[in-house]
């Protein structure tokens, strides 16, 4: 097998090339390379207890100034994937070119994080920046993580520091190479920053899935008790409205992500689903943060995209920030899963709770 046929080796060659380019005379201040990663220790109690280390996503982040008004941003991730012979696979998470045509107004083309809420717009794949250990539950089922397309963006406009993001691109069912039909996804997101450290936002996302397929970069999957092979394969209209409130001060941190989803099929009509994530933290001094989180997702039994799902997660945690490049999070969490599934010829509606402790070391360079 040729070396370039191996995805991991391709990424190594790419990263090495970027490091060399960043040191080429005259380009030191134009191209910047950062890396982010994390390692975790997880312990789960219950009927089948376990404890294990895991190597998290490793993120190679590149920015470059291509001309006075044009910049490039790339984010390349290597993560565990059981379908690979090495158990790791690379992916392009973001790759975009931005043209700033006026002060605080830009046109962006490429693969972006769909700006439906604060979390997806701000945190991306670097766990160093996450306030807690993992993403909200909605990110596994309802939030379209990525869009490949065209984005108009404005920010810090006027006294309220108004911002807008309008995105037209490939939808949930697409890949980075192709999308079927003439049904692009649409995102319209708006926010204001009335106080320093505060951002309040609203967004609307629409996509039409011709065959209810789960594209690799959407982050979507059906509920754990439903396989993709068995999932509905007809047309589905997907509407998502999101509201975000974020306020990060020197002493307190608050983040609330709420979303309402309507998925519409000819078979079962409109399924109404919702999710809400709340994070509240108290910063003590420069390096210590104690926090609590609550996360809930409710997907109705008439939904044919996610299928019936009811999950609640509560957690308490502590974050120690050694510096702006490394932090340690310790999080105790309890999760309740309420799913309809067949067990010994009977329909069961409860699974869990699962009590666990997770420790994450997140770093950047």
């Amino acid at each position: 097998m040729h070396v370039m046929d191996r995805p991991v080796l391709q990424v190594i060659v790419l990263v090495t090339s970027m490091l060399w380019l960043s040191n080429v005379q005259g380009q030191v201040e134009r191209t910047r390379f950062n890396g982010f990663g994390h390692i975790e220790l997880t312990g789960v109690a219950g009927d089948d207890p376990s404890a294990y280390f895991s190597l998290g996503e490793h993120d190679f982040f590149v920015t470059s100034t291509l001309s006075e008004r044009i910049t490039f941003l790339g984010e390349y991730v290597i993560r565990t994937n059981g379908s690979s012979a090495t158990n790791f696979l690379p992916s392009i998470e973001r790759s975009l070119v931005r043209y700033t045509y006026a002060n605080n107004h830009s046109i962006i083309v490429g693969k972006v994080h769909t700006p439906v809420n604060y979390w997806n717009d701000v945190y991306h794949h670097g766990r160093l920046f996450f306030p807690v250990i993992d993403r909200p539950l909605a990110f596994s089922y309802l939030v379209p993580l990525h869009t490949l397309g065209l984005q108009m963006q404005g920010q810090n406009l006027g006294r309220a520091k108004f911002g807008y993001d309008l995105v037209l691109g490939n939808g949930i069912s697409s890949s980075d190479a192709i999308d079927q039909g003439l049904d692009p996804s649409l995102t319209a997101a708006f926010h204001v920053k009335p106080l320093e450290g505060m951002r309040v936002g609203l967004s609307y996302y629409y996509d039409f899935l011709r065959a209810n397929a789960y594209g690799a970069h959407s982050g979507h999957s059906p509920a754990p008790n439903v396989t993709r092979a068995d999932a509905y394969k007809g047309p589905l209209a997907f509407h998502l409205a999101s509201f975000s409130f974020a306020w990060f001060t020197q002493r307190w941190e608050v983040l609330n992500e709420a979303c309402m989803n309507a998925s519409i099929t000819d078979s079962l009509g409109t399924a109404s689903n919702w999710s809400n994530f709340t994070y509240v933290a108290r910063r003590i001094g420069e390096k210590h943060v104690v926090y609590g989180l609550g996360d809930v997702i409710e997907v109705g039994s008439d939904d044919l995209h996610v299928y019936a799902l009811h999950q609640v997660k509560l957690g308490l945690g502590y974050r120690h920030e050694f510096s702006h490049l490394v932090n340690l999070k310790v999080q105790v969490e309890n999760r309740w899963d309420h799913q309809a599934h067949q067990h010994m010829d009977q329909t069961s509606h409860m699974h869990g709770p699962d009590l666990g402790i997770r420790i994450q070391l997140a770093y950047g360079f």
Binding site: E29, R69, R98, A102, N103, V112, F129, Q155
Partner: protein, 149 residues
Amino acid sequence: MGVPSTISAIVLALLLGLMNCSAQYQSDAPSLSLVGNGTGLTQVSPAELRSLFRGERSVWPTGRQVIIVLPGSRVEWSERFSLQVLGMSRQAMQRYWLGLVFQGRASAPVFVDSAAEVLSYVQDHPGAIGMVPMGTKGVPDAMLIKVVQ
């Protein structure tokens, strides 16, 4: 206490209060000078200054791209800069800017290791702004931007 003594005490208290305010104003006055190249600005307010160094502007009135120059962690006045200009510690400033660049909402600032490097970089790069301690030698008048209370 008689009326004259009471009035004297009140006047003295007012005078002491005013002196305290004045001293506090002086101690809050920035000890750093703002320098820029090709920005089109002659003066800014403290709020505008804070907004600039938070990356909230991308293009100057002259059409030049905004380039932020910041003191690196080895600069002895870097903590003073981050507290006075941004109201945050140096570590918080580094965390803020790393996060902003990672979001893709601002171009990365340039970190330098001395006031001389701030001046040199700003002089050589149209669109760049930075701050240096007041009294730094060799600052051309044309580069100074007033910070007006």
